[in-house]
């Protein structure tokens, strides 16, 4: 098996993500925009961290850097083991069936042909798509596509899984089902999860720790551990109460910037 997006010799144990003084500046000179400033974050192996913040505060930028697709301008990012990334859009290849899309991830890791198909089918069954393994992306609903993408992420067998608003485009019911599924596979595979969302309740539903980010420039404004028993119910009173507290903090942050339409809830 080959490691692709991880540094040659991980300085940290498998599953840990450590950001020290990370900053990101896009452009240079008078065009320079500081998108992320002086961000420290230490994620424990197997921890589920949700990153919540308004639009444009640098959440995607942060995730992209953890996944190794962008380099930070300053500071260091250490990740223990391979990092997989799941996008808001499922980004399935339309000429491949569900199975073949999952197989591609296995193939690029050098898994041999005989084993690939079985493993891909098994993973699709795991995300409850057993009946649709031979359909192509356009024949699947949005939620089903996102589950194929989840199966593909699982196929990568990564130590760290970054998810950038993976459920943003789904309806509430489908999203609830995806919460259950994501929680299940996470409990099973025990990867470290970095989950970006706009939805504060979603963060409370899923995460061990919610990280709130503020904008201009992007930075972490608050972190809150969540020890509520799982599975948590999105519409339950404790989840709503915890979400209300976090929302208030975000609102205060926005108010301090005096930009009322800056955050949508």
């Amino acid at each position: 098996m080959t490691l692709t997006s991880s540094p040659p010799a991980p300085a940290v144990e498998r599953g840990r993500v450590r950001l020290k003084g990370v900053g990101k500046v896009f452009g240079s000179g008078s065009q320079a925009v500081t998108v992320l400033q002086d961000t420290d974050l230490d994620v424990r192996p197997g921890e589920f961290v949700a990153i919540v913040g308004g639009s444009g505060c640098g959440k995607s930028t942060l995730l992209t850097m953890v996944a190794g697709l962008e380099k930070p301008t300053s500071g260091t990012i250490e990740t223990g083991g391979k990092v997989a990334l799941m996008f808001q859009e499922a980004t399935l290849l339309p000429w491949l069936t569900a199975t073949q899309n999952v197989e591609l991830a296995l193939r690029l890791q050098g898994v041999d042909k005989a084993e690939r198909r079985d493993r891909a089918r098994h993973l699709l069954q795991r995300v409850r798509l057993g009946r649709y393994v031979d359909l192509r992306p356009h024949e699947l609903s949005g939620g089903m596509r996102q589950r194929v993408a989840l199966a593909r992420v699982l196929a990568q067998d990564a130590a760290v899984v970054c998810m950038d608003e993976p459920l943003g485009a789904l309806d509430a019911l489908t999203r609830d089902q995806m919460h259950d599924l994501i929680e299940d596979v996470w409990l099973e595979a025990r990867f470290t999860a970095l989950f970006v969302t706009h939805n504060v309740r979603e963060a409370v539903r899923l995460a061990d720790r919610a990280i709130l980010m503020g904008g201009r420039p992007g930075r972490i404004i608050h972190a809150e551990e969540n020890t509520m028993a799982r599975p948590r119910v999105m519409d339950s009173a404790p989840v709503a109460a915890a979400a209300a507290g976090l929302t208030q903090r975000l609102k205060d942050e926005v108010a301090s910037h005096d930009e009322s339409d800056y955050f949508d809830i």
Binding site: E89, P94, E139, L187, R230
Partner: protein, 283 residues
């Protein structure tokens, strides 16, 4: 916290709302075949109509019945099939060469910013140039022979094919490249699994256009370049004109039209297949 083995199925079924977004498209295979046939019928009717006006005498402008009878006679002659075989082998050889050259140039250009800047617009420029224009030079350089014909056929078809590759790569969504990087595909692997299959629909359009140009160049070539002792469809057309054999001439024209239509059907079928499997069509 629940036990790590809690399965989703114990909580809530997922399947009730798991209806695929769109049902598999129902296919109407008849239509794609019937439409061109209908076109042929219309063509024959118009043709018969023009003949019926008596605008030109019968021996200059024969009607469909005479021409089809002539065609029926032609297909029994070995010379006809020899001419057909020569023309088709030239077309296929030239087209195959154009595919190899056009694809190689297209991929190289798509993959290199330098090549892109230097020859990208040249490819588009060449594409707009009628390939017949190359014949005088080709004949001057290579003489009246197969070489000149091949050169022009390739020059006619290769730019369209290269352009198809370029368009295909340009139209790929940036998210495919990000996905490739996340999955660890680089260099040739990225091309093999993501870029090439992703660019295929535009490439097939390029092939279709390339074929059309190859076929036109070949016909022009066969009218201009007559190699003694060999017969080809284009030469036959020229002979028929010299001998004022209108039915023969039109029979050969019909053959050339039919070959063009068959090729077009093959490429369209391929395009439709690609578009359908990728969900790019409604029906």
């Amino acid at each position: 916290m629940t036990s790590p083995t809690t399965s989703i199925s114990e909580r809530r079924p997922l399947d009730p709302i798991d209806v695929p977004a769109r049902p598999r498209p129902t296919r109407r295979p008849g239509r794609k075949v019937l439409a061109p046939l209908l076109a042929v019928v219309v063509l024959l009717a118009v043709w018969q109509g023009v003949v019926a006006t008596g605008w030109r005498p019968d021996y200059l402008l024969p009607g469909p019945v005479t021409v089809l009878a002539e065609l029926g006679h032609l297909v029994t002659l070995p010379e006809f099939w020899a001419a057909m075989a020569r023309t088709l082998s030239r077309a296929l050889t030239g087209f195959a060469l154009a595919i190899v050259i056009g694809t190689a140039i297209g991929l190289a250009t798509a993959g290199s910013a330098l090549l892109r800047a230097s020859i990208g617009s040249l490819i588009t420029g060449l594409q707009t140039m009628p390939s017949v224009v190359w014949f005088p030079l080709a004949i001057l350089l290579l003489g009246l022979g197969e070489g000149a014909i091949m050169l022009v056929v390739v020059l006619g078809a290769a730019p369209s094919i290269a352009n198809g590759v370029l368009l295909g790569v340009d139209q790929l969504p940036p998210s495919y490249f990000r996905l490739g990087r996340v999955l660890g595909a680089q260099g040739w692997t990225l091309y093999r699994h993501i870029v090439i299959p992703g660019a295929l629909p535009a490439y097939v359009s390029g092939l279709n256009q390339g074929w059309a140009f190859a076929w036109r160049s070949l016909m022009a070539g066969e009218l201009l370049v007559v190699i003694p002792g060999t017969a080809a469809l284009g030469n036959r057309l020229a002979f028929a004109q010299e001998f004022a054999d209108a039915p023969g001439l039109m029979a050969y024209m019909l053959v050339i039209l039919i070959i063009g239509m068959i090729a077009d059907q093959i490429f369209s079928a391929w395009s439709r297949y690609l578009r359908r499997t990728r969900g790019l069509t409604q029906a």
